[in-house]
């Protein structure tokens, strides 16, 4: 069995002792030739020729797949909802909150819309009259009765600025596939699913008078399909900083949001993917980003109500590249570097890995020897833990 050591990574490496089939002079000559060849090829970026020259087989599918990175991230999302109720009357009584396009005529009765956050529907007809005024019933224990804070409130939002805003929390799960090219660039596609817990929205004005708006849903989900482009703008040893832009479509949960009256905008996401390379194929990622998006809700007879919903995300995850070469199939092959073997099944020369994908493939001395768990924590200072 012959092992050829050909590192095709940053520095060509040849183990002279392994080419014992040549005589010394020939060995030296051959070695120099290979070094020169590999150096030249590396500089020229034409490593493929080495494989052609020595007829080393590599799977073309894996070679292509290796150019793609698969990324999975999850984390925390904080969505800032803000409603703009311009163009509406806002009415609140002790039982509810209602809006009505301010093109309508309001008499002594008011029948407005409820649930304008996600599913506007016509509310009950209510008298436009303060429920604590004549001729409505009196209050028991009237002085400083907390019920008084539920007083009727009526306003035209064209003349009185009224809106609601609030923060909801979410957990996103994102899967992304991108193609790396020209060293620093990447383009790709992704899908993200977010579980969001919807909180009440506080009034932007008249906080002591207008009650918080309570959406009629406790949670919802958002799914995003997007295209992405990125540029690696900084690299520090094994740390990469990549500016990423996502552009795509977002869809709210159809059970919670009435899709027939909701227009969801395209969404943009700007973020910085901070990646630490643990090996050529494996990275861990921390990614802060911001989603910029909004949706509009149509109310019969009224202008569309715009709901801003930018989201701040902080996600962590992993990114892998599928290796272009397999692990050595030979059980007693303990060589640590990438090397060439004769495939026992096909008889072809193939390049194989000596390391799992989570470790550097051509380690320097001691590089992949992690400290064992038994030497950590309480045993940190012991010479012989066990």
């Amino acid at each position: 069995m012959k092992f050829w050591f050909l590192t095709l990574h940053s520095k060509p490496y040849i183990n002279p002792s392994s080419i014992s089939i040549f005589d010394k002079t020939a060995n030296l000559r051959r070695l120099l030739t290979i070094v020169c060849l590999l150096t030249t090829l590396q500089v020229m970026g034409q490593n493929a020729d080495v494989y052609e020259k020595y007829n080393i087989y590599r799977s073309p599918v894996k070679l292509i797949l290796n150019k793609f990175s698969w990324t999975f991230t999850t984390g925390y999302g904080r969505t800032y909802y803000k409603q703009d109720l311009s163009g509406y009357y806002f009415y609140q009584d002790r039982n509810g909150q209602y809006i009505l396009p301010n093109t309508e005529t309001v008499g002594t009765q008011f029948q407005g819309y409820i649930n304008w956050f996600n599913d506007p529907s016509l509310g009950p007809e209510v008298p436009v009259r303060n429920p604590f005024d004549v001729p409505f019933p009196n209050l028991t224990n009237p002085v400083l009765n907390p019920e008084l804070l539920n007083a009727q409130f009526f306003a035209n939002t064209d003349t009185t600025e009224i809106g609601f805003r609030g923060i909801s929390h979410g957990i996103p799960f994102t899967l992304q596939l991108h193609y790396n090219f020209l060293e620093k660039f990447r383009v790709g596609l992704g899908y993200s699913w977010e579980k969001q817990f919807v909180n009440e929205l506080l009034p932007t004005n008249y906080q002591g008078v207008i009650r918080p708006y309570q959406p009629n849903i406790k949670s919802t989900r958002y799914s995003r399909f997007y295209g992405t482009a990125g540029y690696k703008f900084y690299e520090y040893y094994n740390h990469l900083f990549v500016a990423e832009l996502q552009l795509g479509r977002i869809r709210s949960g159809p059970k919670e949001f009435n899709q027939s009256v909701i227009k969801q905008s395209m969404y943009f996401n700007l973020g910085v993917s901070m990646e630490k390379e643990l090996s050529e194929y494996f990275r861990i990622i921390v990614k802060p980003s911001i989603d910029i998006k909004s949706y509009k809700v149509s109310v019969p007879g009224g202008t569309e109500i715009r709901h801003g919903q930018p989201t701040l995300f902080l996600q962590v995850g992993i990114s892998i590249n599928i290796p272009e070469i397999p692990r050595s199939p030979i059980s007693n092959d303990h060589i640590q570097l990438k090397h060439v073997i004769t495939d026992p099944e096909t008889g072809r020369l193939i390049e194989v890995r000596g390391q799992p994908i989570t470790k550097w493939q051509n380690p320097k001395v001691g590089q992949n020897h992690r400290k064992l768990f038994r030497y950590k924590r309480k045993n940190k200072k012991k010479l012989n833990p066990y």
Binding site: T108, P127, P137
Partner: protein, 314 residues
């Protein structure tokens, strides 16, 4: 040592987080007690902290019934400036109901405890029992209120209801409402719970059922013909507790298109309402959600007269 310093700083910080109210209250008490001491007034305090001192006693006077009829003078304890008063020359004593959270400032409610008919008491309130942090033009923030209250009568609401019934009948008699020639079309009918109903214009025979949506026009006056409210096209669901009981009971007798006059005793309307002293602060207290809006229209134990037109029944 460092831990001790940290603990010390923590204690200082926490002590700084204490409520300022207790400091203010303590200062108020000092001021009030100094005043009482300077004037040689023997005082007592209620469990809520209102100061009482006797001016004119009447140990045999009636001390039952929560509805008080009083005259009063209200002044600023520290300056002696009279803020408001209602005395014998101003008319019949005003009524207010104790122990029902129907008096503002609330300290007056507490301070009236135990005072008998015929007695006059001084009642002094700390800020927390007075206007608290509610800012009004008449009572500036931080004023220590000093009442001198003369209790004329103490009654029960049953007595009040009886009096009101007498007032209504007197009004009916005085205004010849049972004379259908002078005041068509029907004589006055007594309904349940002291409500009186007089049809003044015929309807078309259509009557209502509970849950019907009805539209009425009304004008509301008191027995002295003072208007307190009027409204056209007021729509509500009949029999659903959406309006005062007396209005529902009276309207029930009406037909679509009919006009009627309803006499509603306070028990079927706003009962003890809220007695605010001084009255000039009511509107400001309404806007600060201290008292309901109806307090600005209807004072305690007012009989309401509604002239109603029943427009539609749906």
């Amino acid at each position: 040592m460092k831990q001790i310093i940290h603990l010390f700083v923590l204690v200082i910080l926490l002590s700084g987080c204490g409520s300022d109210d207790s400091d203010v209250s303590s200062l108020d008490k000092d001021t009030i007690e100094q005043y009482l001491s300077d004037n040689n007034l023997a005082f007592s305090t209620t469990s809520e902290g209102a100061y009482q001192y006797e001016i004119i006693g009447n140990p045999t006077g009636n001390n039952s019934g929560d509805v008080f009829s009083i005259y009063y003078t209200l002044s600023d304890l520290e300056t002696g400036v009279v803020i408001d008063s209602y005395l014998v020359g101003d008319g019949d004593p005003i009524k207010l109901k104790r122990s029902a959270s129907a008096i503002f400032p609330q300290g007056l409610d507490y301070g009236l405890a135990g005072i008998r008919e015929g007695e006059t008491y001084g009642i002094i309130l700390t800020q927390s029992l007075g206007y608290r942090d509610f800012n009004t033009n008449t009572v500036p923030l931080g004023t220590l209120l000093h009442f001198e209250v003369e209790v004329i009568t103490r009654e029960t609401e049953a007595n009040i209801a009886s009096d009101e019934d007498t007032q209504i009948n007197s009004y009916i008699t005085t205004n010849n409402l049972n004379n259908t020639t002078l005041n068509p079309i029907d004589a006055v009918v007594a309904l349940a719970n002291g409500i009186y109903y007089k049809r003044t214009g015929a309807g078309n025979g259509t009557t209502m059922a509970v849950g019907d949506s009805i539209t009425i026009d009304y004008s509301g006056t008191l027995l002295d013909n003072t208007s307190f409210d009027n409204l056209s096209g007021f729509k509500y669901k009949f029999g659903s507790g959406n309006v005062i009981d007396g209005l529902d009971v009276g309207v029930k007798e009406m037909e679509q298109g009919e006009d009627a006059k309803l006499f509603i005793p306070s028990a079927q309307a706003y009962s003890g309402s809220v007695r605010v002293i001084p009255e000039a602060t009511i509107d400001e207290l309404v806007t600060q959600f201290v008292v309901p809006d109806y307090v600005a229209r209807v004072k305690p134990y007012e009989v309401l007269v509604f002239d109603v037109t029943l427009q539609t029944i749906h």
